[in-house]
């Protein structure tokens, strides 16, 4: 799955390299900047993968945590070991969290790498019109990857909870992915404005705030708070469900 994620920036870079110049303001954000600066491949790839590809992979990993073991019939053997259910739940969530951290990082670094290979790399123009050096640009790129990792922690907590509900891993995966799509659709409806700050996908695309000069940390802080809330709620739900569950398989 990490390879699938890594394929996104490679596809973008090759497509832009082979095609003619992209007119400004068309296509995904930053696409027109790639020919001027290869580092933008990483940023564009993250813009492209946030709405679907990253939630898709996170949904697969998080949905598989408990339901996967139950589906294979290995869950009861895991519980035979004197480790306890809470610890198993924590370890499973930690595994999903590691993927959540690595996923955006792979997209960012592959993007920067393929961009550097196919295009020239130089000072990076920020959204504010200021330019920063390549080193600082890499720091910003890693910050965006960290932002996306935080953004997806809430979704993986939801996936963990759904995974405790069923013995069919595919069902848990699909439900998690569908939820992420539903949240984004709700976020796009202006009639539901009161609900928007509570949707886990609300700040997903606000990582652009890290590309301003000076960096605007407001959305990062709000995002951490929101995702923390989702982790607490769905972690508690997963705990309640998994501790009281009759494990038969």
């Amino acid at each position: 799955m990490l390879c699938a994620l890594a394929a996104i920036p490679i596809l973008i870079a090759v497509a832009v390299r082979l095609s003619s110049a992209v007119p400004a303001g068309r296509g995904p954000a930053f696409l027109d900047r790639i020919t001027q600066n290869g580092l933008f491949v990483g940023v564009t790839a993250m813009v492209v993968s946030v709405p679907l590809f990253l939630p898709l992979t996170v949904g697969v990993v998080a949905g598989d945590t408990i339901a996967g073991e139950a589906g294979q019939g290995t869950l009861r053997y895991l519980l035979v070991a004197p480790a306890g259910r809470i610890r198993l739940l924590l370890v499973k969530y930690a595994g999903a969290a590691v993927f959540v951290v690595v996923g955006p990082l792979v997209v960012a670094l592959t993007g920067a790498g393929i961009g550097a290979a196919l295009f020239r790399v130089g000072p990076v123009t920020l959204l504010s019109g200021d330019t920063i050096g390549t080193g600082e640009a890499m720091v910003r790129l890693l910050l965006i990857a960290a932002y996306l990792a935080v953004s997806l922690l809430g979704l993986s907590a939801i996936g963990l909870f759904i995974s405790t509900l069923t013995d069919v891993p595919v069902g848990a995966m699909a439900a998690t992915v569908v939820l992420s799509v539903v949240a984004q659709v709700l976020d796009a409806l202006p009639q539901l404005e009161w609900l928007h700050p509570w949707l886990f996908s609300h700040y997903w695309l606000d990582f652009g705030d890290l590309l301003r000069q000076p960096v605007s940390w407001d959305s990062f802080a709000a995002n951490v708070l929101l995702q923390g809330g989702y982790i607490a709620v769905f972690g508690a739900l997963a705990y309640g469900r998994f501790i009281t569950k009759d494990v038969l398989s």
Binding site: A24, G25, R26, A29, F30, D32, R33, Q36, V47, G122, P123, T125, L127, S128, G129, D130, T131, P190, L205, D206, G208, D209, R212, Q213, P214, S216, D218, G229, A232, V233, G235, A236, L237, Y239, G240, I243, T244
Partner: protein, 359 residues
Amino acid sequence: MTRAGNRAWLRWLPAAAVPAVIAAGALAGSLPASAGDPLPPKTPEQVLQLIAQHREPALSGTLEQSSELGLPELPKTGPGTDSSNAWLELLTGPHTARVYLDGPDNARVQVMDRLAERNAVRHGNELWFYNSKDNTASHVQLPADGAGKRVEGKDSAVTPDQLASMLLAKIDSSTEVTVGADVQVAGRAAYNLVLTPKSVATLVSSVSVAVDGQTGLPLGVQVKARGQADPVFGVAYTNLSLGAPDASLFTFSPPPGATVKEVPAPEYKAGTEHATPPAKDSTHKPAVTGSGWDSVIAFPAGTATSASETSALLQQATVPVQGGRLLSTALVNVLVLDDGRVVAGSVPVERLQAAAAEK
């Protein structure tokens, strides 16, 4: 069995407790920070004096602007948003902007869009506009004699300070000025100066200006329309720190690869004021009937065509009424007559039609 049942119930306790804690936290956060009245009471005259004596500030802050004018919301992304209707876009929907000011000569406004940003930077007589969406920059060299004056242009009237000075300059006998209960803006206690039109013929119900109790700096402006409880237009700081911002923020050079347009100062003025049909020569001079809040401005024939060509969106936003097409918002009605004249005013449609019929 009962013991096991009890224990199973206990396991779900965190799942119930955590949302309760979050709900309590959200409620506590939404309550007003302090209900006290920490500022010494002042008369409207004293508050006006407080505003008048505040100096050109050095500050950095975040502005939240919201408009509920009743205009159709424009798409924020996609090819529909080009620079020609960027000004119209500012009137619809909410916006966040960061403002940096240091004396009259240094200013920077950053309108923060999702994955994009619009910048206006002023450093001395140099004025730069930058739009990250299409990577274009415009440069204006202001005339040296106007250096001490207010920056004129579309991004100039964005701060509550500038908006308030525009509004307060127009206070006359048609306006009742009162001081309401103190408000909290950006964590600062502020006087709430309320301007209420004495006329009942206007759509404006009241305008309130939040004035910082310490410095006299206007922190926010809210406009309420008749018949609507929520403000139809509001701009206020959500975050404010006084003190000179980093000087490097005011030096702007166009990024490599950007399209740079050199705009001469006079043309720039005309170009950015196409929002309101310009009255360039005497034949196109608008006529004002009435005074104060319920005045009606009539533009002679010829202005409507140029205004409607500016944006097809404007055409879409209007509805046909008797005698022409009407652009109706909560605060302003604009009537484009069939003979090309335009009458506008913060008054009901009937008054516009009556004013049009007088001619």
